[in-house]
């Protein structure tokens, strides 16, 4: 998962854009996401087929991404999660909240 880090104002943003939308600086640096965050909110989608958990995850760097939660039977808001390595599209699963990024 790729983010952008702006050297002008220090903001991280997602999705990638030609400018930093916080300060207007052109071509912010592309950086890899740490892969950790917390669940901002979620919904179990009962559509056709198997239900799935759609979620907004607030990444440790600040930006929010839309994703799925996997392996979390009873998700809750503010729960710490980590990126499932190698997942495509990227999805998240639970992690212990140790205040660091050791979930990776």
């Amino acid at each position: 998962m790729r983010l952008q880090h702006c050297l002008g104002c220090g903001t991280c943003q997602h999705p990638l854009r030609p400018i930093c939308v916080t300060c207007g600086r052109h071509r912010p640096d592309e950086v890899p996401a740490a892969g950790t965050g917390v669940v901002d909110s979620f919904t179990v989608v009962n559509r056709t087929g198997e239900p799935f958990v759609l979620a907004r995850v607030r990444l440790t760097e600040g930006p929010i991404v839309l994703t799925h939660l996997t392996g979390i039977p009873d998700p809750r808001c503010d729960q710490p999660v980590r990126l499932v390595e190698g997942s495509d599209p990227p999805v998240f699963t639970g992690r212990k909240d140790t205040g660091s990024d050791d979930g990776l």
Binding site: H14, P15, D40, S41, F42, T43, V44, V45, N46, R47, F52, L54, A55, R56, P63, I64, V65, L66, T67, H68, R76, C77, D78, P89
Partner: protein, 371 residues
Amino acid sequence: MTGVAIAGAAECDLGKTGRTILELQTQAVTRALDDAGLTLADVDGIATNGISRFSATQLADWLGLQPSWCDSTFAGGAVFEMYVARAAQAIAAGQCRTVVISYASDQRSARSRRLHAVYDEGTPEAEHEAPYRPMYPISYYAMVAQRYLHEHGLTRADLAGVAVAARERARRNPAAWTYGLGPLTADEVLAAPMISSPLGRLDCCLVTDGGGAIVMTSLDRARDLPKKPVEVLGYGEALTHTGMATAPDLLRTGAIDSGRRAFERAGLVPADVDVVQLYDSFTISVPLGLEALGFADPGAGLGATVPHNTGGGGLAYCHPGQLGVLLLVEAVRQLRGVCGDRQVPGARTALAHGTGGIFSSHATVILGVDR
């Protein structure tokens, strides 16, 4: 005060009509003009959408008009409140004299309602959201609801009360889709099929045909027309996002800024408003909207006491894909005092608040009876 008024308002046929969009549009426009004591020959401004790629032009052609002003801004169901602002400005500036704002949908008869998102190629949503298959728009509102319940220590049962209350109001509106269905219970709301948790089928607005129109002209001219003029006192709008992951705070919607701008323009505060028409796309939209507009503190919207959605709203009256124009129709009728069993006694100031997309666009209009 804008010096511009709503002189006519009407619904087209509602529910399951078997009519086309243009037939319903014709009903809406001609009924609103009748209500205003005007005719098609008076119309020199048109604002509409949802007909075709060039909706205002299409409607003008269909009705045999060559207007000097039009607007087909497309920003979801909030846009009719935006049209009121644009029309008020155009009339005040002298670009046109009589504007019809109209909308109609045949979505129930045509079975054209889609539940999946439609992604425009090249947008960030097509790349970053489509792979996750959200239902649109409900999955966004569901995440808002989940966050709302989490932050305020509430449950689905609390939200169910919104649907119960909407049905109760629709029982006093003979035009409502659910009129005559009897009361709804919280248990029924909770037992309905879950669609995108925590929102079930009865947390969602209806899918019906329907629409309506309003006629706007200068307040001076409206005073010479048969019905009591309803003046546009203020308006405001706010656009915040299209993506499901953009908004930094799900509970801080654009209604906060839209409402504040409208109140500032009108020189009024929420306590001055007698009746509110709020876009109730889903149960969560009601408490959150009433809070954002200043009628309740954060987390207390379910207990707001201001009379609202008096006709039953999108949850129980009619939801033709975009509700915005019908919010204005009900607001006008409340201010004219013609709402019968559901009339808010002595209502002199009304607020209509439209929402579009996934809480993406917001527009607020404050109306008052001429005195």
